[in-house]
């Protein structure tokens, strides 16, 4: 059985293993350093418990567990406020029209503006799974469990959400956008900048990032082609998020120019289609597979179950599912179709 639950300190080694396996191929906001990860889990636990220090906005880290073996297969996170109290950096892609009436010339000049416009929105992040899970029901469970968590704790989150999708990177680790822009200013390779970004305060970005807008036409052709393009390996995740209602807007990642997806929280498919139900037992293993979540804060659990939907406000699922959710008959759960 697949279970999504808050990360615990004893998950540390398993998470490191999953994060490490991503290697340079697919970075995420998940630190690969033991100490940094331990701090992140600790902060997540406090956030699930309801702590809300204005200096340290809540950040939640979930894990996907195979309950039969006790092994972890993935992680997913929510930062309640993008930037976590610091500026959240993006480039905003916009166009200026350079037109000369007299000469009859009109050119569309694309410009990347440094922007903090998405700061404080709710951010989905830290999404990683073992490669064999990509595209499976468990993959979808891990991603969408977060939406159910948000639905159950709506007041903890903002009205607008964002997700950063990793941008184009070659097999050899080269990131064309970085090589054409960031490298000149940060004087380090993409991997180093990406790691610093997840480990350090954003001061170094304020210090090193070019403060003025960038003309797209002066980027390398390869970098121009990469603007707003997702990394090949992120496509399953991207498509899942698009089905959820996320759309690419005008924002790009400052390091690799990957697209930033945006959505209004209350129109996300899982939030719209999920409902609270009263839990009842079922001995039947037929029915449709759906997401089912229960528990508040630290007690939050989410799993997949075959549910038979009897009456309006009721749901029947196997008793095994009750145990996973740490719930019993008559308790309230939230469910959404897969």
């Amino acid at each position: 059985m697949w279970l999504v639950r808050p990360a615990r300190p004893d998950d540390l080694q398993s998470i490191l293993e999953i994060a490490g396996a991503q290697g340079a191929r697919l970075s995420s906001t998940l630190p690969k350093q033991e100490e940094a990860l331990a701090r992140k889990i600790e902060h997540s636990q406090a956030s699930f418990a309801g702590a809300n220090d204005p200096e340290l906005p809540p950040r939640f880290l979930f894990v996907l567990e195979d309950t039969r073996t006790g092994t972890l297969h993935g992680t997913a996170g929510i930062d309640s406020r993008a930037g976590n109290g610091q500026p959240f950096y993006n480039y905003r892609r916009d166009a200026l029209i350079h037109a000369s009436h007299e000469l009859g010339i009109s050119r569309r000049v694309e410009v990347l503006y440094p922007s903090h416009g998405l700061t404080d929105r709710t951010l989905l992040c830290s999404f990683t799974t073992r490669p064999e899970r990509v595209g499976t029901e468990a993959f979808e469970l891990l991603s969408r469990a977060r939406m159910l968590f948000i639905a159950e704790h709506r007041s903890w989150f903002g009205s607008r959400m964002v997700v950063e999708i990793q941008g184009v990177q070659h097999e050899n680790g080269r990131v064309p956008f970085w090589d054409s822009l960031g490298r000149h200013f940060f004087n380090m390779d993409f991997q180093a900048a990406d790691q610093y970004s997840s480990l350090l305060s954003k001061t170094f970005i304020a210090e090193l990032m070019p403060p003025n807008p960038i003309y797209v036409t002066l980027l390398s052709p390869e970098a121009q082609a990469a603007l707003g393009q997702p990394h090949r390996l992120t496509v399953p995740n991207l498509e899942l998020l698009q089905r959820e209602g996320f759309q690419a807007g005008n924002y790009l990642d400052i390091f690799d120019a990957g697209p930033v997806l945006e959505a209004r929280t209350d129109t996300l498919r899982t939030l719209v289609t999920s409902h609270r139900k009263t839990l009842h037992g079922s001995h039947d293993d037929s029915g449709e597979t759906c997401l089912i979540a229960g528990g508040e804060g630290s007690g939050f659990r989410c799993t997949l179950a075959r549910a038979t939907d009897t009456l309006e406000g009721d749901v029947r699922v196997p008793v095994e599912t009750w145990h996973l959710l740490e719930k019993s008959a008559g308790d309230t759960v939230r469910m959404a179709p897969l």
Binding site: H98, A99, S100, H101, E102, L103, I105, R107, V109, V111, S180, L181, H184, F185, F186, N187, M188, Y196, L200, T203, F204, E207, L208, M209, P210, P211, N212, P213, I214, Y215, T217, L218, L219
Partner: protein, 377 residues
């Protein structure tokens, strides 16, 4: 004899022929008869004070009096940027450093600037190819400094020159190809021509307004910023010898440097002295090398004339000249003339600096007659 005088109506044909021969790259003097005629008219209006002083364009012709042909031109624009906006890029530095990460990166940038607005420009120098050498180029260029010195109130304290930037034999500019062409949908030559025609609103409309980070340009483009075309190197060396320095501004199209100097610091100005004309029949050998010649100007605003004489003609109070030279300069014995070495490091009698002049002016008893050409020329 070769003499500098204001450009005048009869110069059009010679000017056009020179412009034709000069080919591309001299945007301030295109081979366009109408435009050249307008320049002659403007120069005439300027010398005759029929236009606003700030709008003045002082164009000087180098005439070979033996053949009656105009063989060179040079000019001073009283002020730039008053009618059209005058654009340069400023080559500046952006430093990004993070102590935490031990990173320190310097990025040169080009920032759009109008900082030369309201400054006097020396411009339009062109010498017929069959007259090159023998100090003619020096005379054509430096006569302007004698004029600037003489009539300072008509010009800014600081003057500048734009030097032609690097382009190849086909007229392609590496900076244009890497930068300008991305924003202006035209060839370098066309942009340069439009700009030279004074048709500059297209620059405000089309050019990038945000700073350009040079690290994003190819090496070929970065290498030419602030560099002059190889044909322009002698002109640059000459101006450097006069005390002109690169001021951090470059041409927005080809990246050629702007050099500037305070008028009072220009070598020709610092070394020039006044003397009284002594017309003499005693023959002097006129054909001496440039290092042994001095420029002599008649100090006239409206009918400015400069020619060269051998240095030994200059005494402590007078400068000796033949009646022919005096006639060309429009002076008589006793008139005040200004004298300066034609070539830097050339022979120069007596103490340098303006001291000589001051000495004279405190001893008026020795002066027979003194009239100012700027009031009657």
């Amino acid at each position: 004899m070769l003499v500098i005088r204001p450009l005048q109506q009869g110069d059009l044909d010679d000017l056009y022929a020179m412009a034709l021969n000069a080919g591309k790259g001299l945007t301030t003097l295109p081979a366009d008869r109408d435009l050249l005629q307008r320049k002659i008219d403007l120069a005439q209006d300027t010398f005759n004070q029929r236009c606003e002083p700030e709008a003045g364009l002082y164009l000087f012709a180098l005439e070979d009096t033996e053949v009656g042909r105009t063989v060179g031109i040079s000019g001073i624009q009283a002020r730039v940027g008053l009618d059209e906006v005058f654009y340069n890029y400023r080559l500046s530095l952006t430093v990004n450093a993070s102590r935490e990460l031990g990173v320190h990166v310097r990025t040169p940038t080009l920032q759009l600037s109008n900082d030369m607005t309201d400054t006097s420009e020396i411009c339009s120098l062109l010498l017929a190819s069959d007259y090159k050498g023998g100090g003619n180029g020096l005379l054509l260029s430096r006569c302007r400094f004698m004029y600037l010195d003489e009539f300072r109130k008509h010009f800014s304290d600081k003057v500048f020159a734009e030097m032609r930037g690097v382009s190849d034999a086909q007229g392609r500019s590496p900076l244009w190809d890497a930068l300008g062409s991305k924003f202006f949908d035209m060839e370098f030559g066309e942009a340069d021509r439009l700009s030279g025609l004074g048709n500059k609103s297209f620059i405000a409309e089309l050019m990038p307004k945000y700073p350009i980070y040079l690290s994003m340009l190819p090496e070929s483009a970065r290498a030419v910023i602030g560099q002059v075309h190889e044909n322009t190197r002698p002109a640059l060396r000459m101006l450097q010898a006069e005390g002109f320095n690169f001021n951090g501004l470059v041409d927005i199209f080809d990246g050629g440097p702007v050099v500037e100097a305070f008028v009072h610091n220009i070598r020709t100005v610092r070394e020039s002295v006044t003397r009284y004309v002594l017309v003499t029949q005693k023959p002097v050998p006129l054909e001496v090398p440039p290092a042994e010649r001095v420029m002599v100007s008649n100090r006239s605003f409206q009918d400015f004339r400069v020619t060269t004489l051998p240095t030994p003609c200059v005494g402590t109070e007078t400068v000796r000249m033949s009646p022919a030279v005096a006639e060309v300069l429009g002076v008589e014995s006793g008139d005040s003339v200004r004298v300066a070495p034609l070539k830097e490091g050339g022979r120069w009698p007596g103490p340098a600096g303006r001291d000589g002049e001051q000495e004279h002016e405190t001893r008026p008893g020795r002066v027979r007659r003194h009239r100012s050409h700027s009031s009657w020329g």
